[in-house]
């Protein structure tokens, strides 16, 4: 009978990681035109599935998401709506990523999903959005990072990792593959 805990705790973290995963960004874009072109590639209907961990101590759980993204060329903004779900809970997603000069502001999935993240930052690197942040886990802050590949052949992948201080290495927390619908 743990759906309560999972919906608000685990799924909340899942959503937080997903938020980071999908780019809770305040990033420097290489250039306005490049940034717009880069963001517009995510426009469309996406369906993703994969695994993610509720928290670093738990085993990965299956997650499925759908995202509807619209790129507003005039505003230079990518607006996203959707939902992610696990067998123990769901979370609505709603966010906007906006080009502001050379910067990207806002967040991909909305403040609710990104609220657990501390100090989010991102960059476009090697044709991927790489985002980094910290997420509280008990009394500790855990470093997390996410790689978001550029859409290619109708799909893109998202991999999130957290840093295990004891093992002094990055551990894969989750991975989703999105395909265009």
């Amino acid at each position: 009978m743990m759906e309560v805990r999972d919906l608000t705790g685990s799924a909340g973290r899942i959503a937080a990681i997903a938020a980071l995963t999908l780019g809770a960004l305040t990033a420097h874009a290489p250039a306005q035109t490049d940034g717009a072109e880069f963001l517009s590639a995510y426009a469309g209907e996406w369906r993703g599935s994969g695994e993610t961990r509720p928290d670093p101590r738990s085993e990965p759980t299956r997650v499925t998401c759908r995202v509807s993204a619209i790129f507003d060329e005039n505003a230079g903004a990518l607006r996203n709506k959707g939902r992610c779900g696990t067998t123990r809970g769901t979370r609505d997603l709603n966010g906007t990523l906006r080009l502001d000069g050379a910067n990207l502001t806002g967040d991909f999935l909305g403040q609710a999903a990104a609220s657990g993240l501390v100090n989010p930052r991102a960059r476009i690197d090697q044709n991927m959005i790489v985002s980094e942040a910290e997420v509280p886990d008990g009394a500790k802050m855990v470093r997390v990072r996410t790689f978001l590949t550029h859409p290619e052949d109708g799909s893109f992948r998202v991999q999130s990792q957290y840093f295990d201080r004891d093992a002094n290495q990055w551990i894969v927390a989750g991975e989703l593959e999105f395909t265009r619908q």
């Binding site: 805990r5 101590r57 696990t86």
Partner: protein
Amino acid sequence: MPPLQRRLRSASLPGEVDLKTFGFGLEAFGLLVLRFPRAFTALLAVSLVACVASLPNLRFDGNILSVLETDGEAFQNYRRVQRDFRDFSRDLGIIVRADDLYTPEGIEKLRNLHLDLTLIDGVEGVFSLFSSSSIDPGSGAVIPAIPERIAPGTDVKSLIARAAKENMLVEQLARPDRNAALISIESPFSEAAGRPPDPAPVHALIEEIRELAPPGLQLDFVGYPLMRADAVEALISDQFLLTSVGIAMVFAIALITFRAVGPALICALPALTAIIWVLGGYGLSGTPINYLSTALPTIAMVIALVDTIMVYFSWLGYRQEGVANHDAIVSAILRAGPANSMNMVTTAISFASFALGGNAAMRQLAFLGSLAVVISFVVVLVVLTLALHFVGDRIRVEARKPFFAALGPMVARLSQTRTRGLTAASIVITLVFLPGHFLIGEQHLVTAQLPAASEAAKGERLASEIFGGVAPIYMILPVPKGHSWSDDGALTTLEKAENEFGHEIGDKRVFSLTQVRDAGLSGEKIADIFKDAPETLAGRFISEDRDEFLITGTVPYGMEPDAARAVAENAVSRLATQGIAGAKVTGYPILASTEIPKLVGSLRQSFVWAIVLGIAVIAAASRAPLVALATLLPNLVPLLFIETALWLAGEPMDVAHIIALTIAFGITVDNAIHFINLFLADVEAGMDDVAAMRSSLTEVTPALVAATLMFIGGSIGTLFSSMPSVFNLGFLIIIALATGLIANLTLLPALILTFRRLTPRGLRLA
């Protein structure tokens, strides 16, 4: 000279008619119509246009629980759960079946289905055997009850069986032995949220779910949104069926009766107008048609047809005697109208008696039913009068022997040669069937109100068979005074209550916050989580104001009323002995066990009042109390016969049954009224009892047999209804009418003769 012709001749013209005023003079309305035919034609045309234009606005209400809505504590507690905790009426169950469901491949298909369901728009929560997990006390890791990965070759059935021992949710939602699982979703359909479960969106959601299900999974659906959607669909298709079959039967019967298209059309017109007026009335007033009122247009139509036939036959008789059309219409209205008026009054009284049921649905049925009966009376006086006024001159009126004419003298002979035997038989038959009235039980199964072939009914049957029922039953428990809902003391009290509740309906059939706590979360942590949790989730466990706990269990919808009452009483009283007060148990089974006996009891009381009032009205109008009293047994016999037959068949008295019997009484007594009307007229004309009996039976028998067959024919559409309640209503009314006809033609004359013989002439009022 045949009695009919004799009497027609003696009362052939207005002013010369000396019949007993038997219908409070209400038939005079027909004369008003005749006086201003153009004005009433215009009014009729306007009303028909307005009614037909409003037909697209017809609304249908599939609330099959409406008969349970009372001011009683049980229903108020039921509503409290919806209002203060969560709207459980939006829950939709998905029964998933597959031969390989509990193999590593099958179980992953089930998991995929669960995950896909989470992404459907409007679905707020999804619960399955995968939803359950616990917190490892050492590491704090989330441990799912069913592993996230199931290795090839795993014995999944054994794995599930082990998990079910520890976990209530798995126990409730998995049935490895039946290769079945239950997934519960919180659908978007909530009346409180302004999205009632209308058929189109409910079936669209079901279709969407079916489309996203992995191949090989067989899905069935169960739950209140589907029940309502299916009920509304059945009501809509029923209305088409009842109307079209009714119209076809009305025309066919009229055609057979008159063997000519003109008279058949004229006699069909009032019945068709009655349907349009009743349905138009619903459309214009915005009154939704529900499963109780769906048969009213048909009933109004058939009553109108029978009344029409009576007036038409009378008009025809006058015309055959050479009376001019206008005068024949007046005489026919004055001769047959009083009986029609009295029929209207007694049938309306029967309907009105439902208002004594003390519940909004019954009061509405009382109002709508009475109105439908009044409409059917008025419609005959307006439409038939106008039709005869405008085209009566053109109708050929050559004398033809009425159908069933030979029956009249036969029945008359029987009543006169077997008077004592028939009188004794009425008493014996009544006494034989009387125990059935007291022995028959009461029940109102929500599933019995669903169309038998509907998806909802199939789902309910499967849910009961595979999962032991999915009807929610709740215990509301106040948070102990001096405690916060999340502190240990409060949760310990909750645990005791849950144990007692579980003791009554099954340990693995209840859940509450204590199981969340037992899975590894402290009360403090739960409180923390609930701060951000959606109310639909927190509402499964605690009221919005955090003053009451909710313990939820599941039982079959068809749980025996006594068992349901025992669950509630035992659990509450055992808690009281432990010093835990204020617990209340509610849910559909409790509602049904407490409200249905009350409702059926009060309807039976109403039924008695309908009989008493009906006979009192006949006595007052006829000023012949003895004759009126004689109508009691012949009209009780059909109803007692039906109750006994139901009891012998093991069928409890459902709300639809008692409604059918009450309406049937109102209609069968009409036969008696037509007969008494003529009998008293003959007595008034100076005949002795025996002669009056012979002459009135000879005249009235063919008409009553024809009218009853018309009534049965017009109601035959109800037997094709997909709604069991409508079928039962129609079937029981048909049986009651058939037996009522026999009783009124055999027992009633004998009883009248006996009563009048036993009473000194000076004491008779008529």
